[in-house]
C-alpha cells in the first residue's frame, strides 16, 4: 500500500505529502463556495417484486348438523403446548358434551410435514377435526 493511500485511510489528507499544512488544506476546503441547490431530475423506478402464484379457492367441507354422537379428532401438530391444550378440550367435551367421541392424535413427523395417513383415517373414522397449533 502506498503512503498516499495509507494517509487517506488514516483520515489525513494526502496533500501533506506535497508539503502543505493541514490548516491550509482545511481553510482551502472551507473556502469553497457552497453548491447551489439543483432540483433533482425525475426518474422511473422499476417494480422489484416477483410473481405470486394464482390462488385456487377451496370450498369448505359441509358442516355437521350437530356434534352429538360424532367422532371429533383432536390433532396436535407438534408445537409446544398444543397437546396439553387439546387434552383440556377433550376433558371439556367429557364434561359438557359427553356424547362426543373426542380422539386425540399427534400428527406424524415435524410440524411442516404432511401426514396423509392421518387425514385418511380422519376421513374414514371421524366426522370433524380440531387442529391445535401451539407455541
Amino acid at each position: 500500500m502506498n503512503r498516499r493511500k495509507m494517509l487517506s485511510l488514516l483520515g489525513l489528507s494526502p496533500a501533506l505529502l506535497a508539503g502543505k499544512s493541514l490548516d491550509a488544506q482545511q481553510s482551502q476546503t472551507s473556502a469553497k463556495p457552497a453548491k447551489a441547490s439543483v432540483a433533482q431530475p425525475k426518474v422511473e423506478g422499476l417494480n422489484p417484486k416477483g410473481t405470486p402464484p394464482p390462488i385456487q379457492l377451496i370450498p369448505m367441507a359441509p358442516r355437521l348438523d350437530s356434534l352429538d354422537g360424532k367422532t371429533v379428532y383432536l390433532v396436535d401438530t407438534g408445537f409446544e403446548g398444543g397437546g396439553m391444550l387439546l387434552e383440556q378440550i377433550r376433558l371439556w367435551f367429557t364434561r359438557n358434551m359427553p356424547t362426543v367421541n373426542a380422539v386425540f392424535k399427534r400428527k406424524a413427523g415435524p410440524y411442516m410435514e404432511d401426514d396423509p395417513a392421518l387425514w385418511k383415517e380422519i376421513k374414514e373414522k371421524g366426522n370433524a377435526a380440531i387442529m391445535a397449533i401451539g407455541h
Binding site: V43, G45, P48, K49, P52, A132
Partner: protein
C-alpha cells in the same frame, strides 16, 4: 380432507393465520384464537383458556369451536375459482430519486438502508452480467409458509441493482436465486444464512477472503449478501413481520448474510466446493442455514501454548443445538497447524469432531428442537432418532445425527489463529458458471 375442520391458533399468530388460509385458498376458514402462549402453561391455566373467550372475537371459545363445525356454510365459504394477485405496475410514476428512495422504504421493498434506484438503464447494465435472457425463469422461492413466488432474470437484476451490485456479481446472485433458498425465514426462530463462494471468481470479483473477510470491507462480499436479502424480500415476499417473518428477536445477519469467500490459496485442504463434488476451477456458491455464528475465543484450551484446535471447536459446539450442522470457519493459521498435527484433510477433522463432540440422551431430549422435530421422526421410525429415544438418559450420543452435518471452511488473513463456529447446516451448492 373433506370433513369439517377448524384450527386453533394463539393470538400472536393472528395475521399469519388469516393470511395463510387466504393465500392457500380458504379465506373464510373459521379460526379460533387462544391467548398466547399455550406452551409452559399448567393444565389449570389451559382449562381457563378454553373456558374463557377467544381473545380476538370476544366469543366463548368452546362455543365458537362447536359453531365452526356445525353452523351451515355461507356462500363465500363455498366459493371456488382462481384469484390472481397483483403486485402493482411494472414501473412507478417518475419522481425524484429521493422520493423514490422513500417510496421503496415505505412499501417494504428495502432493508431500510439506501438503495440504488433500479431504473431501466441501471437494470440494462446489470443484465450485461449474464448471457441469459431477461425473461428467462430463474426459479421460485417461498417467503414464509406460503406457496412460492417465481421470478425471471430481469426481476433478479432489479434487486441486484438495488443492493449495489456490479454486473460482474450478477451470476452469483442468479445462482443463489436459482436455489430457491430465501435468506429470510418465517420461523419464530431468527434464522441466519450463509453463503460460501469458491473458485476463481473470488479473485475476479476482488472478494475479500483475507483480513476482515467476514466484515464490511469489500463491495462484492457486502453487496452479494445484501442482494440475497432483497431477493428474499421482494421476489419471494419474505421478511414481513407478522406475515412472512415471525422471528421473535430478529437477526442482524439478515442485513447482508454471512458471505464467505474461502481462502483457497492459504488453505492446506481441498476447498468446500471440491468436497461437494465440483472441480477446483468451477465457480460455486454453497448455502447454509441455521442460528448464527460465534467467535471461538473463550473455548476450552484457547490459552494453551500447544493448542489442540479440534478440542476447541468441539467445546464451542457443545453449547449449540445439534439440530443445525456445525460449521467451522478457521483462519489459515489454524488449518496449517491442524495439518501439521496429522489432519491432512478436512474429512479427518470432521471425523474427529463427529466422534468426540457428544451429549447425554437426557440433555438431547431436553432441547426444544428435539421435541418439535426429532421426536416425531423417532415415532416414524427414522434413524438415528428412533435409537436415541430408546436409549437410557445417561447414554452418550453424538452431537449431530450425521457426520455430514459438519463442514469446514478456511477464511481469514492470518493475523492470528482464530476461528468461528457456526450453528449452520449445509443446504446446497449451485454452479455460478451456469449463470454467467
Amino acid at each position: 380432507m373433506g370433513v369439517p375442520t377448524t384450527p386453533m391458533v394463539t393470538r400472536a399468530f393472528k395475521e399469519l393465520a388469516i393470511l395463510n388460509v387466504a393465500k392457500r385458498g380458504m379465506p373464510h376458514l373459521r379460526i379460533t384464537f387462544t391467548p398466547h402462549p399455550v406452551a409452559a402453561k399448567t393444565p389449570e391455566q389451559l382449562r381457563a383458556y378454553i373456558e374463557g373467550n377467544d381473545p380476538i372475537s370476544g366469543k366463548p371459545m368452546m362455543k365458537e369451536i362447536v359453531d365452526a363445525l356445525t353452523v351451515p356454510l355461507s356462500d363465500d365459504e363455498k366459493k371456488t375459482g382462481i384469484v390472481r394477485v397483483s403486485v402493482g405496475p411494472e414501473k412507478y410514476p417518475p419522481d425524484t430519486p429521493k422520493n423514490l428512495q422513500q417510496f421503496y422504504h415505505d412499501n417494504g421493498m428495502t432493508d431500510f438502508l439506501p438503495v440504488i434506484i433500479p431504473t431501466e438503464e441501471e437494470v440494462a447494465e446489470m443484465l450485461k452480467g449474464t448471457s441469459h435472457q431477461p425473461d428467462e425463469l430463474v426459479g421460485a422461492m417461498a417467503g414464509g409458509a406460503y406457496p412460492p413466488w417465481s421470478y425471471t432474470v430481469r426481476q433478479v437484476a432489479i434487486n441486484a441493482v438495488m443492493a449495489g451490485c456490479k454486473p460482474e456479481y450478477f451470476p452469483v446472485i442468479l445462482a443463489i436465486a436459482s436455489s430457491g433458498t430465501p435468506s429470510l425465514m418465517s420461523s419464530t426462530n431468527s434464522f441466519a444464512y450463509a453463503a460460501v463462494i469458491n473458485g476463481p471468481i473470488r479473485d475476479k470479483l476482488q472478494m475479500n477472503y483475507g483480513i476482515g473477510a467476514l466484515g464490511p470491507f469489500a463491495q462484492p462480499n457486502a453487496a452479494i449478501g445484501r442482494a440475497w436479502t432483497l431477493v428474499s424480500r421482494n421476489l419471494a415476499n419474505g421478511g414481513i413481520p407478522g406475515d412472512t417473518y415471525m422471528g421473535s428477536q430478529g437477526n442482524n445477519l439478515n442485513y447482508n448474510n454471512l458471505i464467505m469467500a474461502e481462502n483457497e490459496a492459504a488453505s492446506p485442504w481441498a476447498p468446500l466446493h471440491v468436497q461437494k463434488g465440483f472441480k477446483a476451477q468451477e465457480n460455486v456458491v454453497s448455502l447454509f442455514r441455521g442460528l448464527g455464528i460465534v467467535p471461538g475465543q473463550g473455548a476450552r484450551g484457547t490459552s494453551t501454548d500447544t493448542p489442540k484446535y479440534e478440542e476447541q471447536f468441539s467445546d464451542l459446539f457443545s453449547v449449540f443445538t445439534g439440530f443445525f450442522g456445525g460449521l467451522v470457519v478457521a483462519d489459515p493459521l489454524i488449518a496449517a497447524n491442524l495439518k501439521e498435527r496429522g489432519y491432512d484433510t478436512k474429512d479427518k477433522l470432521i471425523d474427529w469432531l463427529y466422534k468426540n463432540t457428544t451429549q447425554s440422551v437426557k440433555d438431547y431430549k431436553s432441547r426444544d428442537f428435539a421435541y418439535g422435530f426429532d421426536y416425531p421422526r423417532a415415532l416414524k421410525g427414522l434413524e438415528p432418532y428412533k435409537t436415541w429415544y430408546a436409549m437410557p438418559d445417561d447414554a452418550v450420543i453424538p452431537r449431530w445425527p450425521h457426520r455430514d452435518d459438519i463442514n469446514v471452511v478456511v477464511v481469514g488473513g492470518q493475523t492470528n489463529a482464530f476461528f468461528q463456529g457456526g450453528s449452520l447446516s449445509y443446504t446446497v451448492s449451485v454452479s455460478i458458471d451456469k449463470w454467467a
